[in-house]
Every structure is written in C-alpha cells, then in structure tokens.
Amino acid sequence: MIEHHLPALQVLLPLFAAPLLMFLVRWPTLAWALTTAVCWATFLVSALLLEAVWAGDPISYAHGGWEPPYGIEYWVDTANALVLLIVSGISAIVMPFARDSVEQEIPRDRIAWFYTAFLLANAGLLGIAITGDAFNIFVFFEISAIASYALIAMGRDRRALLASFTYLIMGTIGTTFLLIGIGFLYMMTGTLNLADLAERLPAVRDTSTIRAAFAFIAVGVSLKLALFPLHLWLPNAYTYAPSMVTVFLSATATKVAIYVLLRFFYSVFGVEFSFGVLPMGYVLMPLALLGILIPSIVAIFQADVKRMLAYSSVAQVGYIILGFSFASTLGLMAAMLHLFNHAVTKAALFMALGAIVYRIGSTRIDAMAGIARDMPWTMAAFVVGGLSLIGIPLTAGFVTKWYLLLAALEAGLWPIAVFLLATSLIAVIYIWRVVEAAYFRERPAGAAPVREAHPALLLPTWTLALASVVFGIHTALPIGAATRAAEILLGGYP
C-alpha cells in the first residue's frame, strides 16, 4: 500500500515537515533531529524508487487520482531516480555535519527557521526532478529558489545579502523565461504533461512559436544551472552562504537544473529537433568549452578557497554540458555520470572547508597556512576530494573524464580530448595552491592554536571523500545507472 505512494512521499515528507519545524524555534536541537530524520526518510524513499525502476518499468503516479494528462503526474524512471538519489543522499549525509556547523554560524533563535528553509529547498529540488508536469517544474523551481535565497542570506558576512539579492534577480529572470516557454508550448499543444507534450510536439514543431518556446526554456534553465556566461550569480552565492548551505546547493541545485534541461532537450523536444533542426550542439559546445576554460583560470587567482571552488563548480557544469552537447549515448552517459560524481566530490570538498571554517573561521588561503599539521584528517579529505576533482585515476572524477574523452573521440573531436587533458592540469594548479599552503607553509606567527575538527564533522566529510574513491573503483552502480538514464533520455517517453 505505502510503496504505491512512494513518489508522492518523496516530495511531501520534506514539504510537510518544514512548517512543523516552526513550532520548534525554542528547541533547535529537536529541529535538527526532526530534519535529519526527514532527510534520511526521503533518502530511503529515493533508494526504493531507484530500485523499483531499475528492475521494472517507469512509475507513473497520478496525484489525487486525476489521470494524466489531465491531472499532475509524477514520473519516475532511472534518469530522475538517479537525480532524486543525489539530492536526498547529499541532504541525508550533510545533516550530521550540519548540527555543529549551523550552531556556530546561525544565531540560536533562527536555527529552526534555517532548517525550515532547508527542507523547503530540499522539497523543491526533489519536486523538480520527480514531476512530469511542465508547470509544476516552474512552481518547484520557485519553491526551492525562494528557500535558497533565504538560506544564502543567512551567511555571516554581510556580502551574503547582496549575493542572495543578485541570485534572486537572476534566478527570477531564469524561471520567468521558463514560464514564458511553457506558455508557448501550452499555446501550441494544449497540454502541460511532459510525456503528452513529447507526443504532440512533432505535429506543430516547425512553427516559430515552438522555436521561441525552445529558446526561452533553454536560456531560462541555463541561467538556473549557471551555464557560462550566465553564471554570475553563483560565485558570490556559494562563497558567502553558510558552509552547510554551500555543500547542499553546490551538490544539488545546479544538477537538478541540468536534469531539467536534459529532459526538455532530449525527451520533450527530442534529439532530432534540439540537435538537428536547431543546431544546439554548436551553441552548447563552445559555451561548455569556454565555461570550462575561463572559470578554471579565474579559480587559480582566488584568495578565498570557497570562492575558488565555486568557480571550479562553474567549470564542472561546463564538463557536464560538454557531454550533453555531443548528443550521443556515450556523451549523455558521461554527463549523467559527472552529475553524480561531481555532486559527491564537490560536497566532500565543501564539507572539508566547512570543518576548517568551524575551527579557524576563515576560508582564505593565507589563514589556512600550515593547518595540515593540526587538522590532518580534514586536510586529507580535502586532498582526496581534490584528486577526484582533478580526475586522478582510481577516483570518481577520473571515470567521468575518461568517458567524456571517449565520447569526444567517438564524435571525432580529438582537439576536445586534448583540451580536456589540458584543463585537468589547471585544476591541478588551483588544488595544489591550497595543498601547498596547508602542508608546506608555517602557521602565521601569533595564530591561535587549531585543533582537529571533531568526529561529527569529520565522519560525513570522509563518507563523501571515500565515496569519491569507491565510485572510482567500483563503478558498476554509477555507470549502470548513468547508462540506463542516458538510454531512457534519448529514447523519450514510452
């Protein structure tokens, strides 16, 4: 009985728990405990969903018993089950870490509100991934976005406020563009259900209305996923947000937006239209290449490690979009794989930074000089994450770069293969700067002594750091899921 309603529970659990937290303002620890329980429950739900669709057919869930395409449909197949697993998995792992980190960075009377916003952001992201209704995607985008603006604005630095405001302006323009695009689609087809849209679009697709819809959706979602050069909101937002928020958003928010773009390009409009009639490959590929190169170079010159990793995130989005732009099964599979691997890797890196912030209160490279002697475990986790970010063999990052390389060679684009290797070297430079400071420099004279972060912070960090190694060696789960996801996305709706 209950397993029949898993798709609804996936979103409703965090959505309904969020307002409950408001009653726990005076008991922040209880609010944390409830949030943790909800996050682990959603993780369990998404694991069960992935298991169900892995073996069997996709799940279609009719909300309130209204049959699709009239009612709102939740649609789960391997492609979005993987995205759901990433979002709920990261939120579950970040929660044990959050307790101390949030207690230190957020005023005590606001902790419950903080978790309310966190659960709403979580529900929104899960909703975007699971829904099979175009307008629902817009609504969930806004739920997660408004909650994220609040989360980012709770950063300690006052610059967090302006970062959040910039994100609000750019994010709203993005989602409004998406809304316009959906309006055009509805105008021509009279439906909002994604599967139904995919069925009805071919008949009307040679009209300027549909081309306009495509353009609005592509630009709108690209703003949300921080595709270069629409990434300007991201570095500040990630730099000044509280540590735990950066971990969560960097691993999930842009990934979910990428999934939406994949869904629209491949399943709704279809490969033939997106990459044949409209040559999106020629638009996305240069943007992806520039998006890898320029932010990577900018990352080298950052004095703040958190900002450096934020720029690196923009570059990683470039890698995913690059795989996406090949419009081949292999390229798409590399994109889905990197979606997963980068979420794990970047979350590990930002968590290690969060632990450092907890002890030294800063993420500037100067402030991190010599801390590896006092915080060996934290810095070791950072190095492992860094290796995976670079793409050293035996890490998750290597596996995706390898498949990207294969996809580039398959498309006959060997200069891109060379480019991939060269940009990995840029990642070596910026990760090395941190390693050099932390391991080979002396602590600044007069600096307060530093202790190792305690287990509650270290354990989640190491879980993800080890995961980025395990998924580099035992690649069956991510590669299997990514391959199936790519096949499903290319195949469109059954």
Binding site: A150, R159, L162, S164, L168, I169, T172, G183
Partner: protein, 118 residues
C-alpha cells in the same frame, strides 16, 4: 491590420522589455524589484491573453453557448502571481537587510563599501 488584433501581445512585449530594462539598468535595489514585477506582470498578461477566445464565455454550462474561454491558464497564472508575491516579499526583505547592513540600497555605493573592506 492583423497586428492590431494582437495588441495584447504587443502590450506583453512592451511591458516585458520595460521591466527587463529596469532590472538591468537601475542600480537601486527597490527599483530593480519594481522592474522585476513589471517583467513578471507581462507574463501574467501573456497567459491570460492566450486563454481568451473571441466571444467565449466563462466555462460554465449555459444553454445555447458553444464557445468557452480556457480557464486553465488563468488558474496557472494565479499560482504564478502567488509566487510573484512571495518573490517580491523576499526581495524587499533582503533590501531591508541590505539597508541595515550598509546604510544604502544603491548598488554602486554598496560595492564601494565592499571594496574598502577587502
């Protein structure tokens, strides 16, 4: 004179571009939010226009009427209006916090203060 019949879409385009321009060109945070509101309003008008059928009535069954206006986009846009209100509230709340922190809501003055700190 076909373009005149589509005048509500022209209104949409003018509103959209006005709002968009205000968001980009204005350095004042409140004015940016005003621009964003105009921009969003254009989309509301767009949705309402596309559902309207010439001579169509409200979707209530009446004897002798066969043309109905589509109610669904109107319902959708009600949701979008609520979202817009929430966004405006969020944006204004942020502007208030920015004013408390910086004593100004002009973007260039705030940036100047940040550069002094750095």
């Amino acid at each position: 004179m076909e373009w005149l019949g589509l005048y509500n879409y022209w209104v949409v385009v003018v509103l959209m571009m006005t709002g968009f321009y205000v968001v980009i060109a204005q350095g004042n945070l409140i004015k940016k939010i005003v621009g964003l509101n105009i921009f969003q309003t254009s989309v509301f008008v767009f949705y309402i226009s596309l559902a309207k059928l010439d001579g169509g009535t409200a979707p209530v069954y009446v004897e002798g009427v066969s043309a109905y206006t589509n109610p669904l986009p109107h319902v959708l846009i009600l949701t979008a209006i609520v979202v817009g209100v929430a966004l405006t509230a969020m944006g204004l709340a942020l502007a208030v916090r920015v004013y408390e922190a910086y004593g100004s809501i002009e973007e260039d003055e705030i940036n100047a203060q940040d550069e002094q700190d750095a």
